[in-house]
Symmetry: D2
Subunit: 383 residues, 4 copies
Amino acid sequence: MSRKIRMGMIGGGIGAFIGGVHRMAAALDGEIELVCGAFSSNPERSKASGEELHLPANRVYGSYAEMIKAEKKLPLGERMDFVSIVTPNHVHYGPAKMALDNGFHVICDKPLCFNMREAKTLQNTVEKTGLIFALTHNYTGYPMVKQAKAMVKHGDLGKIRKVVVEYPQGWLSTKLEDSDQKQAAWRTDPKRSGVAGAIGDIGTHAENLAEYITGLEISELCADLSTFVDGRLLDDDGNILLRFNNGAKGVLHASQISAGEENALNIRVYGEKGGIEWHQMEPNTLITKWLDKPMQILRTGGEGLYPESSQSSRIPAGHPEGYLEAFATIYKNFAKCVRARIDGTTVDPMFEDFPTVADGVRGMEFVDKVVKSSKKGAKWIKL
Amino acid sequence: MSRKIRMGMIGGGIGAFIGGVHRMAAALDGEIELVCGAFSSNPERSKASGEELHLPANRVYGSYAEMIKAEKKLPLGERMDFVSIVTPNHVHYGPAKMALDNGFHVICDKPLCFNMREAKTLQNTVEKTGLIFALTHNYTGYPMVKQAKAMVKHGDLGKIRKVVVEYPQGWLSTKLEDSDQKQAAWRTDPKRSGVAGAIGDIGTHAENLAEYITGLEISELCADLSTFVDGRLLDDDGNILLRFNNGAKGVLHASQISAGEENALNIRVYGEKGGIEWHQMEPNTLITKWLDKPMQILRTGGEGLYPESSQSSRIPAGHPEGYLEAFATIYKNFAKCVRARIDGTTVDPMFEDFPTVADGVRGMEFVDKVVKSSKKGAKWIKL
Amino acid sequence: MSRKIRMGMIGGGIGAFIGGVHRMAAALDGEIELVCGAFSSNPERSKASGEELHLPANRVYGSYAEMIKAEKKLPLGERMDFVSIVTPNHVHYGPAKMALDNGFHVICDKPLCFNMREAKTLQNTVEKTGLIFALTHNYTGYPMVKQAKAMVKHGDLGKIRKVVVEYPQGWLSTKLEDSDQKQAAWRTDPKRSGVAGAIGDIGTHAENLAEYITGLEISELCADLSTFVDGRLLDDDGNILLRFNNGAKGVLHASQISAGEENALNIRVYGEKGGIEWHQMEPNTLITKWLDKPMQILRTGGEGLYPESSQSSRIPAGHPEGYLEAFATIYKNFAKCVRARIDGTTVDPMFEDFPTVADGVRGMEFVDKVVKSSKKGAKWIKL
Amino acid sequence: MSRKIRMGMIGGGIGAFIGGVHRMAAALDGEIELVCGAFSSNPERSKASGEELHLPANRVYGSYAEMIKAEKKLPLGERMDFVSIVTPNHVHYGPAKMALDNGFHVICDKPLCFNMREAKTLQNTVEKTGLIFALTHNYTGYPMVKQAKAMVKHGDLGKIRKVVVEYPQGWLSTKLEDSDQKQAAWRTDPKRSGVAGAIGDIGTHAENLAEYITGLEISELCADLSTFVDGRLLDDDGNILLRFNNGAKGVLHASQISAGEENALNIRVYGEKGGIEWHQMEPNTLITKWLDKPMQILRTGGEGLYPESSQSSRIPAGHPEGYLEAFATIYKNFAKCVRARIDGTTVDPMFEDFPTVADGVRGMEFVDKVVKSSKKGAKWIKL
């Protein structure tokens, strides 16, 4: 088969932030084309978005239900191969469930859905249908994150002892949700965002990154959540002690009131032999530290990398790759798997490397337990 | 009109570095689609490349001449709107000239062409045909470079006094051209690269960046070129003193034998009131320095930016944008201009911001004068 | 009076690390001279040390008790004015108490002493005698730390909401105490170090720094200490959640098994209006971040500093000042106060800025509560 | 002998910048004591300075001539062992010559003196008397600079090909010499500073650093000096192409009008196998880059250092050492040599590592040739 994989998008109308990110990520590598969309629950807005995106009018739908039904009637190769879900949290479950039930693969923005019940149902549906489901914990797409994971896996750091992961932002330092800033509005609204604010939105990225790199599981946690901005309904800051299933210890903190911070997702992992340090805002550098020799600086596409990292960069070292490229790597790997499924071939396991519905369930559970721990006065809870 | 702008590619077959970059850059913003290509002078290879790129077989050509002729016969809206030329230097002129003569807009990799004669002819052709011609001095696409340019233009730094621009690389520290590394082979071959090596390949980027940001022209230079690797036919290092047309002074150095360097294109510009510093390898940061107040750090998409910079980033501050995004901005602005031409509308002058054939001629002249100065024993030469 | 202030040293014989640091710090500003010492409990070693330090033999003593008694008999102006105590933790109390009881001012390495009982007694003695007592929490001597404190005090950051303070080291990643490394030996020995390892040695620096900069008090904590190296008797890693007396929250982590780390004492403080970030290993830079304007970088001796900071640097901006200079600032301020006492004058309150016996008691209490919280399974404890 | 080496100071009265630096540097290691001084040509000011420095009144002199004569009459061991000269450039020669002629060792601030004639005479005097003469090109005292030198010497980088050295400052961006800023006044005054401004003051540091690290000599140069501030009498900016005696090429630029820069003395050296990069403002880090392996970061006092570097740091890695410590290392090594001379012993050659009168002559010659090249319109001149 030499055609592009065909994507239908749910959500992501004009002006939406994350919809545009998904479209750029999907387009980058030339393997995916956007063929249809239900870009808004407002049909007018959906239509206008479709036109702006150069889609034919008959492939722009007024609702996701309409899209799934209509596309299913088209012949394979013409109809969409998968849906990309980029709606707010509370509108993940519906379209994901329906798409799966109708035979479409799914790529979905994180967090997986609104609550644990939905999450478990989705997981069952994925298992039952055997369809491919990717969750865009996009930070795992960075080449230097893949290098970090590979180094841990190969034992370069020795047994892991300590993890420090953090995600400070400052953009919700004031009550931005009272302005007409949509991003702020739904993220601070329990009806659309779920039980948690900062922890759900970005704490889960930190949790996912820590478990992805170390291959460990958080087994116990003690969380102290706060809401610093008066009148806000969800947490805007959280500090969490972690214990991992191999005996390692850790700290996770995430915040939306760390005034002046952009997206300072950082991680440090220390083992018996060495440590690594990575900063999302300068993502092409991985600092490695050692007991008895000088620090080494690894660089995207540079010398001394494992294939898991090398194969995930697109251009030679020294040409910085960013957030969109990392995001695109999730799409690229997902597309390789979808293509193999269509062609009836198998895919190099190296490319089966993207967050799945299981990671989504894990994230939901993490959020639940963090909130529970905090509500009990920051007591230890098993995960 | 709601359709994508249609691109035909010349060069850039399987395994080529810069061809892939152009395709990703063109695809990113969803405004351009690749509809045809002559990817190699070897028709088999061209065909295989086209298939890998999911093009229909009848739009994959065995030569650029064949492509231009065939596409011209297709109706507008079906045929390509412009060509993207990504061949080695000595194969820029032919396709660019023919494309222009047949009414196609052109976007071309740098340097413009092989020698000044070709360059001047191309410039005349562009002027005569009135077609749009963009040259991918891609570093000018970075949001922080646009901010630097805007700050100089608005007088924030005061009258410019000094410019230090540098582009050290290390990848040609050994005689890599004797291996089967294609990138090294043509770049060190006078028959394909032209009169200069490092200066032509990357020195021109430095020159272009300095003139782009400052809005000044280099009026005089004194260049000391070297070939450090035995048997190499072109310069692999150059140090150049600069004088600008407003009395400013400067230094430009570029190198392919600065062992261990990746793509360390850096620039510092100092005026009477302050200075700016930018590093390509961490491109989302612009350091600004002042006479009587603390340094300020400007960030892509962040606070305190001019619109010329803000409008050229795609995602909120803290999500790093890289080389491909900067490259894509050249394509995005070019596409906006092509679209306006097709639609018969005008374009916001802010988007007419990409390097043109005039910048290409300027670069060719710079290289010529640098080589001449160096051959005379590093004497001053007017530009 | 124009003479130097006269110092007698207790501990710090040949080869000791911290003794040399104190001597260099005391000497730097030309206000203090070393006149006598009891450098070791081994009289031979004390004597050899004194000779190496160019002291007259009759001022080199075999024990601190001998020194204090003998010096007291010398006339004022000839005898030492104060003692500097640089012995391991368990030998702080004895000489400090005796020095105070005999009328000598004291400057003492941290932590204050071995346990809370000793600490309280010392505090009482200081209060009773009215003598000057300084504790060398030297990191508070850095000009950029003083700037951070001044910014908080002046309300530049608004009400403080969050503090992240950390002190990772890696030097005890293996069982170094089994070699003949003296520093490792006493620091991991409960008989000489006290109830805590990493937390006592460096966690207290982190606690002191956080309280010094913010002017807040830790009111409650939840601590999870670990001993990762088999057979070690004290903690080598600790993660602690903090609550402050104004409602701010925080995280403190300290470690001696963060492989590859040197002395990465870092602090971030966020308020309603902005945040600051400081790294001990690049101490001349203070990063300030703001809600609605770009980051500013403040620099030792540079523009935009409060006098508390400016007056504590010795050379113009751009000449890096280090650990010894910060240490020397503690000595310099202490010496100013001692001199004023001798002269019967008063001192500018700006110079009464050094850690005191109260800070030492506070640190001891912090360590006690951390250990208690951890032993109870990481439960919250009030401070 | 167990006594400190005794220093007499010439210049450096109250409020002088460099005098205080020399005193702190001399005091740091406890091997040198200030015993006398002629701190100002104004006897009142000299006296007041002496008192502030806690010197006995009879050892504070009204002129350097008086001091040298008087001290010579004192017995060895009581009289000063050497003089430290910290006056402006035009008052280096007189006291240095007289001190040497009277048997005193000399440590002198740079540049060596006012012109080449004086320089040569001093060099002859040093050779004739056999006395020890050190010049405080203090940047060579940094441990990471010593590491860089050792790496080149041991061939780690292979044959050196390229050197980029730069010293931008911004403090003279305006006509500061018209205010009562003394530092600015004499540095821009040809009668006190000599034939050059920026090049003499800081360009010589860059030249010295490049030759010190590489062990090479600049054999030819082409210099373009400028005076950007109206009415200024000496250069405030210079850009220079370099050729070295082994065929390496280089760039040196220095500036006092690079607005916003502090003391950004930086050097990069590239050889056939690798490169090093060092920044004075973060002096404890040496970046090493390699052809076929990742960058390594060497740190003061850390792993992987040559003894020349290790022995020149005072405290364990992670405790930053600064400008004063580097300066003090010049004094420390000088003092070891003076002590050996007094004791009639020999000194480990590792400590004979400080700039000498020959380096001073070299610097004077460099300045002369730079000025000559520039005056001829930036022509090449042999050194």
